[in-house]
Symmetry: C3
Subunit: 151 residues, 3 copies
């Protein structure tokens, strides 16, 4: 686990970029809650304060503008977090650098496409295609790790 | 962190199997959405397309057949992902191989039991028993890591 | 990745403590469901049994006492799990021990504050402040990892 190893470095960079993505999604949710002044989850969030300058009824109701960001966040949890584990194990198998770059950076591209398709409400097909590419990369890395470790 | 170390190899194999499980749960949700043609989450998913050949009212309503898979997925997120971290740290403590195999493969068996009980809607008690075994393994590995590292 | 390295040891201890926190949140949800005899998620949980000694109508309805713990759990998933990844990568950059201790143990303190503010229903501002500190630590470690690895 040496960051000077090119494969480990590729993993560290791609994992860190995806970590910034998932944390950023939380902040997009915060931004959207502040912008619409709603979509809050907790009763105490209805109180007037810096985070809620204009209390009004219905602030705990689901707001699709906010919920979309929460759905994107959940999708990140279900894909980016497994990627952190699968990518680490794959990197430990000492794969060819080019293969590691294609899979690890390819995952970033797939998730970037998923993000753009999701936040803009593009068709289910486009969003699902990007999701599928990312999912197959994780599954492929996990299978490769098992085969490499057993063999 | 050498995959030729038997304990690290045990971790890599068990973590990869659990990664395949959690990614597979996402695909079970997809399969169930396609099968019932509903349980969708996004307004754009109502549009006719490959993923939705037969648009009809109510496709965004919660469907328990689909929601069950989402609840299973959430449970995986709350247990399998912590396992990836706790198992890695535990493996780094250089534990006896037999103990590592019992805990790491034991976790897989507990989650397999949880999956079977959950997808078939078996009683709360059975499902909770398998959940508890898995949870205790994670908690035990985390406590062991703290004690081993401080001592 | 040697637990005798003080930075790696700091990571192992802080990550294990946060793992105990996230697993404990699941048990708080279980405790709350048992206490109110409600907030269940699955139809089969309505059946009489050890986990549900007193069946009654409405046991699948959302119960805010239980839901608060689930929201806290979701927040842990979105923050503690990324911390496990970001902290590991940061530790691999071989940072000064004091910086590692401040960031990794600082994250624990921020999440402890978040937990206390959330479970007691304190104001949005206080809860958000602790959330922000934890989030910035993760983001900072991820950015540092990228810069250190590329440079």
């Amino acid at each position: 686990m040496n960051l000077k190893d090119p494969v480990i470095a590729t993993y560290a960079i791609s994992a860190s970029i995806m970590l910034l993505k998932i944390m950023g999604q939380g902040w997009i949710t915060v931004y959207r809650m502040m912008k619409v002044g709603g979509g809050f989850l907790n009763p105490e969030d209805k109180n007037k304060g810096l985070a809620n300058p204009k209390p009004r009824p219905g602030q705990l109701d689901a707001d699709d503008y906010v919920e979309r960001s929460r759905r994107m966040h959940r999708n990140d949890v279900e894909n980016i977090l497994p990627f952190l584990g699968a990518g680490l194990l794959f990197a430990l198998t000492n794969p060819p650098l080019l293969a590691a770059q294609m899979l690890l950076y390819g995952f970033i591209l797939a998730r970037a496409g998923h993000f753009i398709a999701y936040i803009n409400g593009w068709s289910h097909e486009i969003r699902a295609t990007f999701f599928t590419i990312g999912s197959i990369i994780i599954i492929g890395m996990a299978i490769y790790t098992i085969i490499h470790t057993i063999a």
